[in-house]
C-alpha cells in the first residue's frame, strides 16, 4: 500500500451563499496519478486552491501528510512586460533552491536551451515546461498541475503527458492533474475523479467513462470516436436523491461546441 499524501474529507465551499463545492472526498497516494475532470465552472480550480492552502474550505478538512511538499504548476503565467526576467532568474526564485539544480531540471523537461531566454517571449508549450521545472525545483512529493497542457497543440500535449508520467516514475511522487477532457490523459491516469460541484463519479478511467454520470457530462465514449474529441455538456440537473436528470440530449448534439484542440 502506497503512502497516503492527501485526503479530502467532505470538503465544501460557499461563495455568496452559492455552493461551489460540496461533500468532496478524494485521496492521493504517492506514485498515483489522479486526474480531476469536470466542465468549466465545476469547481476544479477551487478544489486545487484548497489543497494548496490558497483558499479555506467552508466545510470539511484536508488532511495532508506531514512530509508533504507540493510542486505547483499554475494554469498560466502572467509576468508584467516591464519586468525583465530570464528563465534562469525565474527559477532561481524558488524558495531554498539549490541553483546547481536549475540546469539539470531544465534538461529534464527538455528546454535547457532556454536558460537565458526572457520568460515573456516563450511559447505556450515552453512556458508550461518552465512552470513544470519550477514545480520540480521545489523537491515535491506531490505535483499539482492545473490544466498542464493549456495552449499546447495535440502533439505537444502527448509529449507533456509522457513527460509527466516519466517524472512520476522517476520520483515516485503523487500527481494531481486538472483537465477538462479525458481523451489524451486517459492512458496516463490511475484514477479519474469527475466533479461538478460534487464528486459525480471516480475510479479507473475505464470505470469512469462507463459511468452514467460521466456520460451525462461528457458524452458516451466511442460514440464519436472518429472525432476523438469529446464535446462537453456543461451542466446537468439533479433530482432530490442526487442522481442526474437526463435532459434527453444525446452526446452528438453537443459536438457543435467542441473545444478547440
Amino acid at each position: 500500500m502506497s503512502q497516503r499524501l492527501v485526503s479530502f474529507d467532505k470538503i465544501g465551499i460557499d461563495f455568496d451563499s452559492r455552493v461551489l463545492l460540496d461533500n468532496i472526498d478524494m485521496t492521493i497516494d504517492a506514485g498515483e496519478i489522479v486526474t480531476l475532470i469536470g466542465p468549466n465552472g465545476s469547481g476544479k480550480s477551487t478544489l486545487i486552491r484548497i489543497l494548496l492552502g490558497l483558499q479555506e474550505p467552508t466545510r470539511g478538512k484536508v488532511v495532508r501528510d506531514k512530509g508533504l511538499r507540493i510542486g505547483y504548476m499554475p494554469q498560466k503565467l502572467h509576468i508584467d512586460p516591464t519586468l525583465p526576467l530570464t528563465v534562469k532568474h525565474f527559477l532561481a526564485l524558488v524558495r531554498h533552491v539549490d541553483k546547481k539544480n536549475i540546469l539539470p531540471t531544465l534538461e529534464k523537461v527538455g528546454i535547457a536551451h532556454l536558460l537565458n531566454a526572457q520568460v515573456q517571449v516563450l511559447s505556450g508549450g515552453e512556458t508550461q515546461r518552465v512552470l513544470l521545472a519550477r514545480a520540480l525545483l521545489n523537491n515535491p512529493n506531490l505535483l499539482v498541475l492545473d490544466e498542464p497542457v493549456q495552449g499546447v497543440d495535440v502533439n505537444g500535449q502527448v509529449e507533456l503527458y509522457n513527460l509527466i508520467e516519466g517524472i512520476r516514475n522517476e520520483l515516485h511522487c503523487g500527481v494531481l492533474m486538472v483537465s477538462h477532457d479525458l481523451h489524451l490523459v486517459m492512458a496516463k491516469t490511475d484514477t479519474v475523479v469527475c466533479i461538478n460541484q460534487h464528486v459525480c463519479c471516480s475510479g479507473s478511467p475505464q470505470h469512469v467513462t462507463g459511468h452514467p454520470a460521466y456520460q451525462a457530462l461528457f458524452g458516451i465514449p466511442g460514440a464519436d470516436e472518429s472525432i476523438a474529441i469529446y464535446a462537453h455538456q456543461h451542466d446537468h440537473v439533479h433530482n432530490e436523491q442526487g442522481s442526474i436528470l437526463s435532459d434527453d440530449d444525446d452526446a452528438h448534439s453537443h459536438c457543435s461546441h467542441q473545444e478547440k484542440s
Binding site: 505547483y72 503565467l77 509576468i79 519586468l83 525583465p84 530570464t86 537565458n116 521545489n138
Partner: protein
C-alpha cells in the same frame, strides 16, 4: 560651490538612489497609482505632525502605513474597483490635508514646498533623515530581495513555496511609505511618484535582469537630480519640477534611441 547647492545635491542623490529600485517594484506591480495615493496623504501627515507636535517624518510614515493598511482591507472586501478606491482615497486625503493645514493658525506652512518640493531648502537634519531612511530602505531591499521579487512575479507560486506573502506585501508598502516620507522634501507630494516610476521605466529599456533594472534606475534618478538642479540654478526654475522634467527627457531619449530593448 555654494553650500546649499551641495546639500541639495547630496539630498537629491540620496533620494534618487533609493527611489530607483523601489520604483522598479512599483512599476512591476503596477502600483503607480497606489504610490500616488500614499504620497497625497503625506500632506495630512504633515498637518497632523504639526497639530500633535510630533516629528513630521514620523507622522508621514505612520499615516502612509495606516492608509496602506486601510487600503488593503477595503480592497479585500471588494466593495468597489481598486482604481476608484485609490482615486477616492488619494484626493480625499489630499483635500483633508489641505483643510487640516488651514486650521493651523499659529504655524506658517510653506504649502508650495510640500506640494512641489524645495530641494534648495534641504537642511543638515533633512540630510540625516534622507541618508538614515535611505540606508534602512536599501538594507531591507537587499535583505529581502528574493522574497520581494518572488511575490512580485507570482504570489500564488510564492505562497505554495512557503514565502510569507502577506508579510512581504506589507514590507513593500512600508518601504514605499518610508521613501515617500524622505522624498517629500525634495520633490513634494504631487511629484514623488514620478521620481520612482520615470527612472525605473527608463531603466527597463536598458536592462535584462531585475537587478540591472533596479541599479540602472538608481543611476538614472541621480542623473535626473543633477540635471534638474543644474537647470534650476542656471535658469532659476523650480527645483522639484525641473528634476521631473529632466527624468522625463531621459525617458524620451532612452526610448527614441535606435537600439532595441535587450532580450535574449
Amino acid at each position: 560651490m555654494l553650500e546649499f547647492l551641495i546639500r541639495a545635491l547630496l539630498g537629491g542623490l540620496g533620494v534618487a538612489a533609493v527611489a530607483g529600485p523601489l520604483g522598479a517594484f512599483v512599476v512591476w506591480r503596477r502600483m503607480a497609482y497606489f504610490g500616488d495615493t500614499l504620497a497625497h496623504s503625506a500632506l495630512l501627515g504633515v498637518a497632523l505632525g504639526f497639530l500633535f507636535n510630533i516629528n513630521l517624518n514620523l507622522a508621514i510614515v505612520v499615516l502612509c502605513v495606516g492608509l496602506a493598511a486601510i487600503l488593503v482591507t477595503l480592497q479585500k472586501k471588494q466593495i468597489i474597483a481598486t482604481d476608484t478606491l485609490l482615486g477616492i482615497l488619494a484626493h480625499s486625503s489630499l483635500s483633508l490635508g489641505l483643510v487640516a493645514v488651514s486650521f493651523l493658525d499659529n504655524v506658517r506652512i510653506d504649502l508650495m514646498a510640500y506640494l512641489f518640493g524645495d530641494l534648495l531648502a534641504v537642511s543638515q537634519t533633512d540630510l540625516y533623515w534622507i541618508y538614515g531612511g535611505g540606508i534602512l530602505v536599501l538594507t531591507l531591499l537587499v535583505t529581502f530581495w528574493k522574497p520581494l521579487l518572488a511575490v512580485t512575479v507570482n504570489e500564488e507560486l510564492a505562497k505554495v513555496e512557503g514565502y510569507p506573502v502577506e508579510a512581504i506585501r506589507l514590507l513593500l508598502m512600508l518601504l514605499v511609505a518610508l521613501v515617500i516620507a524622505v522624498a517629500m522634501k525634495i520633490v513634494g507630494v504631487l511629484l514623488i511618484t514620478s521620481l520612482m516610476i520615470i527612472p525605473a521605466a527608463t531603466a527597463r529599456k536598458l536592462s535584462n535582469t531585475p537587478i540591472q533594472m533596479a541599479t540602472i534606475s538608481s543611476f538614472i534618478g541621480c542623473l535626473a537630480v543633477c540635471g534638474g538642479l543644474w537647470a534650476s540654478y542656471r535658469w532659476d526654475t523650480p527645483t522639484g519640477p525641473s528634476v521631473v522634467v529632466c527624468a522625463a527627457l531621459l525617458f524620451i531619449i532612452a526610448y527614441s534611441s535606435p537600439f532595441k530593448r535587450r532580450s535574449a
